[in-house]
Assembly symmetry: C2
Homo-oligomer: 379 residues x 2
């Protein structure tokens, strides 16, 4: 009889249209029927990416798409700069190191955004840097980076800009072309409201030039193969057919809604969560650079954050995320991304109020909800 | 109003239980609820694989799992032997070459199985060979190789045996442990009756020893990461949650049915197809080594095979596969794998009879169906 509510930064809840699409009989992928879907989905991705570049669909998680960026652009002994301010920035470093890339790192304090000028300095001082790896929204901290400013800086250098937009694409603004992003990677289970299992990667003509000359080893993630296939509306290997059919449905929904409305809705959801947790007397982990997709909340000193998240989930069916690595037990992360509406937020905050009270934290019950409601009533 | 019928060697039709599982609301992957499913699915895979080894589930197509075998076992400059008798054997060679592996090849004539003694000779003559890459069922030709005999030979050498069982696992016999298969890779969209998007890979303790010492670059497909995660009933990266939930349902169905019954059903379906096409006066492309999962049929001289397949699909909704590469237009391939029953075969043969007749091929209408029915009536 228990109902479940998902407020996690991936997977995000599935719209009923997506569930329906996932349940359809399978079709073969080398057919005009599937080709039409692949073509439409690729166009839809271009809309969400705000790009004229090719966008490739991989049968992989987002990490597979990140690896595709690294192994196609660089080879052993090349140099890259990684902006690292959380678990997913660190993933760029890990992938680069696994492939023998010399990796310079800008270590940003968790909870802060990178200062774009620091990137400028690093790239100026080391002309060997071929690629700058960044993160749009760092899911582990909720921080959003200023990709527009970073893009303006990197475009005047010899380096390429790669953005991990796994968390954020289709939820907050990312102008791939206007912001000079050479490669943008993403995944299906976040802003795109799908189950996990698809990776996406957009590639600029400038990036393709580097790919052409790069000697890095790759096969399954080879973007030259992907390009050759996509030019014939095909995929190099068996695609994740069902997920691509669902993707196409999600993209149609998003196009109908319009990116501006989607971004405005995410901002409203985020504003409501931020105002609610502040009204409860809690602090935001990233007060200056908090994203509109996930909010990390500092929990009261002494309160067991792991237990809070577990109780909300296992006792009341409301799943939010806990802290990762050094933040374990100290923060909780409430996502407001994808197919999330006003009353999902109300449910999440209400459950948070309930469990905080049960765990002995003192505040006037309903304070968070009132603040959220006030936000929602604003024009 | 048109009904569609799928008789292709991947994807294969989805049972209604699988479609239902695919349409369920998404759950989060770092929860006890998903862990229980992952554990059960992993156990179920061990049953289908007939192994005590670890079996890892990747968010990738089958080719991703093939690449995982190569990049985890070998590094640049190592030597491998590839058995190549069709498009998918060739894929091993392509992957090995992409990673700088010295690749010896046994080129088997398309339509024939490899002679295991040829492998013995090659491995004996070149002790540098670390891995032998083979294919259980070569989808492009319908040939099944004698993995049991190959296993007996390779186990007495220093080389490891890797089997591509993407086509075949869960449809025809493959005793991973008894046949000394160190690594067996597979995919979701064939015998396992699921949409594409999952790769599987089993790893023997002997293979893990080589993986430990191998210096090959890898990250997303790193099996050491996969092992570390699986030991905690987890995955290193976001798994394809929905597909794994559906996998678990499929594996439960298969366990209930029992491998012996499943293999017997596949044999009966294959026998019916073979007898039908012979009764129609057509020839089998692989008369001596035809598999029970897909049958390649030689089409009459002068008959346009591409048009045959296209007409069956686009006019009558019956999708079979055409020939690949050098077989283009010359053969058609009828799959009888996964969730396929007697009357699916009847439908496929009936449509073949219809279009063959329309294209001017002479035979007594109903001859193929009669032969199939006779086969089905046999005990």
């Amino acid at each position: 009889m228990r109902k479940n509510y998902l407020l996690t930064p991936g997977p995000t809840p599935l719209p009923p249209q997506i569930s329906e699409a996932m349940s359809r009989p399978i079709i073969h992928h080398r057919t005009p029927q599937f080709q039409a879907i692949l073509k439409e989905a690729t166009e839809g991705l271009r809309y969400v990416y705000q790009t004229k570049n090719d966008v490739f669909i991989l049968a992989s998680s987002g990490t597979g798409a990140m690896e595709a960026a690294v192994v196609n652009l660089l080879s052993c002994g090349d140099t890259a700069l990684v902006i690292q301010g959380g678990k997913f920035g660190e993933r760029w470093t890990e992938i680069c190191k696994a492939y023998g890339i010399n990796t310079e790192v800008i270590d940003v304090k968790w909870g802060r955004a990178v200062n774009p000028l620091d990137i400028q300095e690093k790239v100026k001082n080391n002309p060997a840097i071929k690629v700058v790896f960044t993160t749009l929204c760092e899911t582990s901290t909720g921080v959003v980076n200023d990709i527009a400013a970073i893009g303006r800086i990197v475009k005047d250098t010899n380096a390429l800009l790669v953005v991990d937009a796994i968390s954020g694409l289709g939820a907050i603004d990312l102008k791939t072309d206007d912001w000079f992003c050479d490669i943008v990677v993403s995944g299906s289970q976040k802003g795109l409201m799908l189950p996990p299992g698809l990776g996406f990667i957009s590639v600029s003509p400038k990036a393709f030039k580097l790919i052409e000359s790069s000697k890095g080893s790759r096969y399954y993630l080879d973007l030259k193969k992907a390009k050759k296939a996509l030019d014939k509306t095909d995929t190099p290997f068996t695609p994740a057919i069902t997920l691509i059919i669902a993707l196409n449905e999600a993209l149609k929904m998003m196009k109908e809604d319009g990116l501006e409305n989607i971004f405005a809705r995410h901002k409203k959801m985020a504003d409501a969560v931020r105002s609610a947790v502040l009204a409860l007397g809690l602090k935001l982990f990233a007060p200056e650079a908090g994203s509109d997709v996930v909010t990390a909340v500092c929990l009261p000193e002494g309160l067991d954050g792991e237990k809070l998240v577990k109780t909300m989930r296992d006792t009341y069916g409301v799943t939010i995320a806990g802290g990762q690595d050094s933040l374990k037990g100290k923060v909780c992360r409430i996502a407001h991304m994808g197919f999330i509406e006003e009353f999902d937020i109300i449910t999440g905050i209400s459950c948070l109020e309930k469990v905080l009270t049960q765990m002995g934290y003192k505040f006037t019950l309903g304070t968070g909800i009132r603040a959220a409601e006030e936000t929602f009533l604003k024009k």
